[in-house]
Amino acid sequence: MQNSKVSQEEILAQGPQAQGEYIIEVKNVSKQFEDGKFALNNVSLSIKKGEFVTILGPSGCGKTTLLRCIAGFQVASSGDILLKGEDVTQTPPYKRPVNTVFQKYALFPHLNVFENVAFGLKMKKLEKSLIAKKVRTALKMANLTGYEEREVNTLSGGQQQRVAIARAIVNQPEVLLLDEPLSALDLKMRHDMQIELKQLHKEMGITFIYVTHDQEEALTLSDRVVVMSEGEIQQIGTPTDIYNEPINCFVADFIGESNILSGTMICDKRVRFCGHDFDCIDEGFGENQPVDVVVRPEDIYLLDNPEKGQLRGTVQTCIFKGVHYEMRVLTPDGFEFLIQDYHEFLPGREVGMLVKPEDIQIMKKERLFNTYEGEILKNNKVSFLDADWDILPEVAAQFEVGDKVQVEVEFADVDLQDYEEEGTLTGEVHFILYKGDHYHLTIRTDEGNDIEVNTNDVWDDGDRVGVVISAKDIRVKKA
């Protein structure tokens, strides 16, 4: 007994690196639904034995689909899923050495706690005494000793969740899949269960793949976080990596609170934003390159003397948040910062703001303006985004009808209309990013194309809009 425990600890101490094998490999997996939409788009992910990996993303990002593909409830349209090096892409769920904890527990209502937990073992046709022993151990691990005979629908949400976990771990799966298992619990219970799950992971030493939309949960629990959006993996990394070095605006915005601003990389280790040059530690972006800058609210230091900081501003609002105060500070140039500080700075007060070089995260801008493929039409028109747009006659004169062209539109030159019918085409506000002094929106057109827009107007996610681009703002180039 003692011996086996030591050896298990040794394995854990060596960590997954020492074993050097991936227990799960997801290779270029795509899942396309009947309506043609991609739930997963070329997703690749390798998970080491014993890791606690969290797949994080907003609802509809494909995280649950990915988990269901690994569990076998859904079959990938293309790509491979390997379990211990073995291709299981087409293997039915009952033949896979993985077990799932379902979002709404999915306990069998006609069976009591013991029978629920014993279900998997009975399927394996184990001996009765062995089943009883294993079930007792699992119930003990899930803190459910004494609940064997209870009917499952007499249990509280937290207890049902424990039964669901016990029912999965009793089978000693290679991989435990958890599909938002704590989302139905209240906050306090959720925190307790997080600690218990973490403990369980440590004790069992098996691989956990955990799906959640709760970024705090992901950061708390995981060895590695996989951030997903729109069926694609945005970033994979440790919780600190993801938090401190988000790879793009989506990740920065989704994980924690952040100030995201447009800036210019002047040269290595020097960046300009909000009209001020800052020292930073990032290199390799080139000179005078447009970039996005992320500063976390807790990384901006407020100073009593407005002259002392790099930026100055006036406190607009101040809210007590328990441990800290959360302030909104407006600079004279019209940039708004979200700042968290242990000290209270009352609204109306002039303050200085200071950001340390290592707290500035620089990200390459993915796009500088909208670019589309288009075609010149008759009567000074060009077609792109499945619509016909007016262009200036002198621009049209440079091309022949039927020419394939590249169309460029600045983000700030796209006008959004409340009334859809006023737009040349219509769409929906799909993603909103606050950039300090303006909003950066992504509009998804009804045809499924994206238009990025800079605006000072406030829009909500899902708002229907009409899109207008005036003729003078459409740049046309030879394709």
Binding site: P92, F102, A106, F108, M123
Partner: protein, 265 residues
Amino acid sequence: MKMKKLSDIASSRRTWAWPYVLFLGLFVVLPLVLIAYFAFTDNHGSFTIQNLVKFFTQSEAISTFLYSVFIAVLNTIICLLLGYPAAYIMAMKEFRTPQTLAILFIMPMWINFLLRTVATVELFNMVGIPLGEGALLFGLCYDYLPFMIYPIYNTLQKMDYSLIEAAQDLGANRAKCFRKVVLPLSMPGIYSGIVMVFMPTVSTFAIAELLTHNNIKLFGSLIQDYITTSDLLNYGAMLSLILLVIIGITSFFGGDEEGEKGGLI
């Protein structure tokens, strides 16, 4: 003052219950009392248990009764065997059954069963199939199948699909998943279906009369015969009472499991 009182009376729950109490009293309780009264009296209205004794001593009534039960059990089994798969196919989303199919299965319930039975007789005559026991079973099954399908379909459709996934996840293949999860969870629907098919089949008489040219007598037909014959009315009442008691007992068997997630009743 008076107005207020009136509105008070009008709004109290008790007041609204009266029409129903009256209805139930007149058309459910009173007939039952009358059946019991006639069952335990003779032609002259004096108390007797002769009718009960007659049932247990006269072989015709007992054998007809047993035959009726046999036919009813057979019909219930056939309906269950035909109805369960139909309900399962309609309810399980993996089969992607179109809604119209579900409606087609349920549609016979929209039309009066006598009408359907008469149509069946005509159809059999047209094709030249002799009427008799087989025709009777066909007719019963045809008439009562929707009553089996619907409650089962209802429970299956309401079942949480993640339970099936959970069973597969825990190592159950299709067959085991069905046996250990789907079937036990659809029991309330099955009970409802059985009750709804068995009970009316035991007491049926019109279908038997039409589809066998009155050659095969079921218990229901027997009761009808006695009651229409005025001097045997009391015996007919006793047979009704016996049937009622037996149906009451059978419905008790499934009773405890129902209610919770009941199919139709």
